[in-house]
Each structure stands twice: as structure tokens, then as C-alpha cells.
Symmetry: C2
Subunit: 343 residues, 2 copies
């Protein structure tokens, strides 16, 4: 009995030693920089301060885990959108296959221009033309066939500047923000003007964001049966949700049903999502990526006095609204130490 007691006492003293060691290690771990690709500055500080104040139980701005929703635009916010959205490139690449099944389209614009291969002419296509191409190339097949085709395309095609798959063109600093938020109990969502089914194909692998957390522009699907009687969903040419501008908060309500606590965007299409997020009670984080790094990525938008371009439209009024409403602007050139993981 005495030996047993002595053992217990020794155990207890060892436990104290182990506990002390753990306590000594814990702060060192906590101090590991969660955002190593960010330079110190107002943007990084805003993110860290927001996470601390919303996850500290003792903070008056504590947010319960169930309400920790963070939404991210994709094009220009999580990955490169210049010179053209990846999904538009996919649609253009699909035109020959579509024309093969519908030869009458070969003589009709905008398909004629796309088939000509004349890059300058293709670059000049206007939004109504692009919408026709999107409708023709993104519908009429089953969801499963579409997924397989996008996977094939992503594996084959490389972007023109870096000669890398599009899925390599994600911004490392934003990947760190996604992971940092998730490590702190946040559910991270993509809220994109791009097609929901397109982004779902790679979002889990590329961003760690599962299909059910991708909000995007949505075409209707129609349930049916194949010749063997097996049920499947076919993609219909009917737009249910245009998940851009006012469509972003509408899409967030449809898919999530809660107002986000944090939101990240980079263009006029994100204005309403950022406003809506910021208008909630308590601590809110609204951030806008400014593309001001012509060397490492691209420069476009008000900071450079450059004209707004077709993609990533960022008028001076948006910059002014950001300043006025307390959104934090991320200056790519000065806030980001590295842009890509493979650099």
C-alpha cells in the first residue's frame, strides 16, 4: 500500500512536470505565425485581430462556432482572373465539341468567331455573346458528364502566362487565410459569380472547400432516367441564380441561411456581399483584394489610375466605399510576401 501511494505521489509529480512542459510549449505553438506569406501591416493585423476577438470566449465580440461563416469570392480573390476567367476559357474550348453535335451553330455568331481562332476578335466578345456561349457549353449534359469533362480540361490546359494548370494559380496568402479561419472554427464558403458546378469540381482539392460550401451562379437541373432506368440529373439552360452583385447576398441566404461574419472580394460584383456582411451586429470583417502588382501578378483598378477592365471591374467608387465603410483593402504588392505556393 505504501509503495502504491509512493507511486501515486511520484506519478503526480511527473504529471506536474509534464503539465509544466505542455504549458511552456503551448504559447510557443500559439505564436507560430498563421499567415507567413503576409507582410506585417494593417491587412494582416485586421485578420488576426478579427479572429482573436471573435473566438475568445471572454471577448464581448465572441461569435459562437455555429455562426462562424466566412465567404470568399473566387476570381481575383482566391485565384488569378486575368487575362480571362478560367471558366470562360473552358467554355470557349468546349465550343468545337458543341458545334460537332449542332453543326448549324458553325455559321452563327458568336460561335463563328470562336471557331475562327482569331484571338483578338474573341477577346472583343461582349457579355451577351459570352452568355450565349455559356448557355450552349454548360448545359444539355448530365452533371456527371460535365464534372468529368471539367476534370479532363483542368488536367490538360495551362494558363498562357505561367504555363501552369489553372488550379495552381491560387494565392498562397488567401489559402493561409482559409486555413487560419477553419482552424478557428469558421466554415469557409466560396461565393462566386462563376458556375457552381464548375467550381465544385476542384474546390475541395484546391481550397479544402467541399461542394456543399460552394455558392455560385446556378443553372437548373432536371431529374430523369437513363435507358437502363438509372436516375440522373441533366443541366438545363435555365438560370436559377446569377450569383453576382445583389445575387451574392441572395445566394448566401439560399445556400447558407446566415449572414457571414467575414467576407472577401475584389470587385464591384462583391459590393453587396461586403455591405451585407458588414451590416451585421458585432465584429465583422470585410476585405477587398486590390490588384496593384503588375510584376508578380497584374495591376488593375483605381489605385493605379488604370481603367477598369472587363474582368475584375473595380471602379473608384468601390474603393471610396471601402474606405468609408471600414472595409480593409489588401494591397497585393505590399501585403503579400509571396503570391503563389510554387514560386
Amino acid at each position: 500500500m505504501k509503495r502504491m501511494l509512493m507511486g501515486l505521489v511520484m506519478c503526480a509529480s511527473w504529471l506536474v512536470v509534464v503539465a509544466a512542459l505542455l504549458l511552456a510549449i503551448a504559447p510557443a505553438y500559439a505564436q507560430t505565425d498563421p499567415l507567413p506569406s503576409w507582410n506585417d501591416g494593417p491587412a494582416k493585423q485586421a485578420i488576426v485581430a478579427f479572429v482573436k476577438t471573435t473566438t475568445d470566449q471572454g471577448s464581448p465580440q465572441f461569435v459562437p462556432p455555429a455562426e462562424r461563416i466566412a465567404t470568399f469570392d473566387q476570381d481575383g480573390t482566391l485565384w488569378v482572373e486575368h487575362p480571362m476567367y478560367a471558366q470562360v476559357m473552358y467554355c470557349l474550348d468546349r465550343v468545337p465539341a458543341v458545334v460537332k453535335t449542332k453543326p448549324e451553330l458553325a455559321k452563327v455568331e458568336p460561335f463563328k468567331t470562336v471557331l475562327s481562332g482569331n484571338r483578338a476578335a474573341i477577346a472583343k466578345l461582349k457579355m451577351p455573346d459570352l452568355m450565349k456561349i455559356l448557355a450552349a457549353t454548360l448545359t444539355g449534359m448530365s452533371v456527371a458528364d460535365f464534372t468529368a469533362d471539367v476534370k479532363r480540361w483542368l488536367a490538360e490546359v495551362k494558363d498562357p502566362r505561367w504555363k501552369r494548370p489553372y488550379t495552381d494559380l491560387t494565392y498562397l496568402p488567401m489559402q493561409e487565410v482559409l486555413k487560419y479561419l477553419r482552424a478557428n472554427g469558421y466554415k469557409t464558403y466560396i461565393v462566386t459569380g462563376g458556375g457552381q458546378d464548375f467550381v465544385r469540381v476542384y474546390a475541395e482539392q484546391v481550397y479544402g472547400i467541399p461542394p456543399e460550401q460552394v455558392v455560385g451562379s446556378v443553372g437548373a437541373t432536371k431529374y430523369g432516367y437513363d435507358t437502363a432506368g438509372k436516375p440522373f440529373l441533366i443541366k438545363e439552360p435555365k438560370l436559377l441564380l446569377n450569383d453576382d452583385h445583389a445575387g451574392k447576398p441572395e445566394g448566401i441566404h439560399l445556400l447558407i441561411g446566415r449572414r457571414p461574419v467575414a467576407a472577401f472580394g475584389n470587385s464591384i460584383g462583391d459590393q453587396q456581399m461586403l455591405e451585407y456582411t458588414k451590416a451585421g451586429d458585432g465584429a465583422r470583417l470585410a476585405m477587398l483584394v486590390l490588384h496593384d502588382d503588375a510584376t508578380r501578378e497584374y495591376a488593375y483598378g483605381p489605385a493605379q489610375g488604370l481603367p477598369s477592365t472587363k474582368v475584375g471591374t473595380f471602379p473608384p467608387a468601390l474603393y471610396a466605399q471601402a474606405k468609408q465603410q471600414g472595409w480593409v483593402v489588401i494591397h497585393m504588392k505590399t501585403d503579400w510576401k509571396r503570391i503563389f505556393a510554387w514560386e
Copy 2:
């Protein structure tokens, strides 16, 4: 040093004792019945066998955690749907308030009948009439006002038979299934023909299912600003998704983007969701609640030779399909030891 070593040895022996105790306790815990309100029988056995085979790493039917999606119809599957859907009761109760703002409706059918208070006449209203009532009572207010009004209604109103709030009328055995699946890494979703915004008001509290996991019939919302410039969403009279019949797999694709591994329903409106779930590869669980307990709840459907009723339509063909395609029928009368938690 010797004392230290002795302490270590004693510690090690104590660790062995503790480990042995833990090992002895673990199987006892594992054997605790996760479904105590279920009688032993094919239904309970099917649920337990499904969970075991899809969560055991060594099983050829193992399902990775990210793909563990289970979908549940609500009315008649998770809670009582007789004599009328709770949401229809809510809409009928809201008619006077709507007529107050639009007095011209008082003289128009079906509003005239609802205002008459003639229960027999109200019960005879047909689907197009009900749709008019739904459109008038579920739209034209902000999402926040709607949520507040449903909360008020749920707190005030009691169902006619048990004199309890509707939120008390959930089936205890199904609550156990929800918890059991979640404890095994499944994400549980409601997939209801009812209104998404209506069910979201109480789903988290009643079922432990957060707003982002409620798939329902969806009306469009419109983003706008109040007089103070604060953004809000208003409910529009435009149906985006009728989440019933073929609309259920379509809604599942829209909100979840993955095929469920398990699905639970009780009526013809769930047919396509069950087919779609069952048509996937690997282990699949499709279950159908049969209301055959006239004493403790209600009896309707083919097992009793009763005619199909307006709610919970369950034609004999559905029962036949269940038998043919290996869906498991839950017989409320014999499979459920208890129906409600408060009994």
C-alpha cells in the same frame, strides 16, 4: 535517480492499469444502444448495420467522412403531418394580417373561405387555393420579419390533438437516428417540400440541424436597402425550387452537390430522393416511414388499405417500389417503442 526511476516504473504500471480499465470500459460504451426507442427488428437492424459498414475503415463499403450525407424529409418523417402541415396552419393563421394590409382580398376566394372560419370548408381547399394562400402569406416581408413572426407563432400555437407546440411533435426514434448518424460523422440534412425559410427558424433547436443544412422549397429573395440605408433581403413571390418529387434530388444537387448515402422519407414526394440515393454505388440506406399506428399517431397509406389522404400521400405503388428496390419500411406501430419524447 533511483527514486525517479522507481517513480517512472510505478507510473508505467499505473498507466497499464488505467489503460486496461479504459479498454474494459470501451466495449461497454460501444454497446450502449444508440436507438433505445426502437424495437429490435429489420428497420433498426438495417440502420445499425449501415452505420457499421460505412464507418468501419476495414469495410469494403467504408464511406469517407466528407461523403457521409444523410437526407431526411420532414413532414411525416421527422414530425407529425396530420391533420394538416404545420406550415399550412401558419399560413392560414396569417391570412387576417395579410387581409388587413390588402382589404380587397377579403372578398376574393380562397381568402374569403379562410376568413369565414368554417373549418369544413377550409379543409376542402384544393392545392391551387393553398398555393395562392402560401404566395400571399409567405412573401412581401423581409427575411428577418418573417423569421420573427414564425418564432412568435410557434411559441403561441398548439396542435389540436396533443395540445402541444408543433415543435414537440417530432418523433423520438428519428431524433435518435439523427444523433446516431451525426455521432458517426454523417452530416444530416432536412430535404422538405415545405418552405426552406420556415423550417430554418426551428431546425437547429428542434433537430440540431443548422440553417445551411435545410433544403426546402425556395422562394426568391431580393436584396435592397431600408430607409436608413441598411441592406436587407425581402421575400419575393417567385418560386425558385419546388423541393418535392423530382425537385428533391434537384434541390439536393443545388444545396449539397453530392448524392446522399442515406435518405429517409414517408410519401410519394420522397420517391425520387430515395431512388437517387439508392442508385449510388456502395452501401446505401433508403427508408420509408409507414404510418400504421392509429392509436399513438395516425394510420394512413397502403398497409391499412386506407385511401391516400391529402397529406403524406403514399400510394400502393410506392410501397411496391420500396419492396422491389430494397428500401426499408419503418412500421411505426411495431418498430417504435415510443413516439414522442414527452410521453
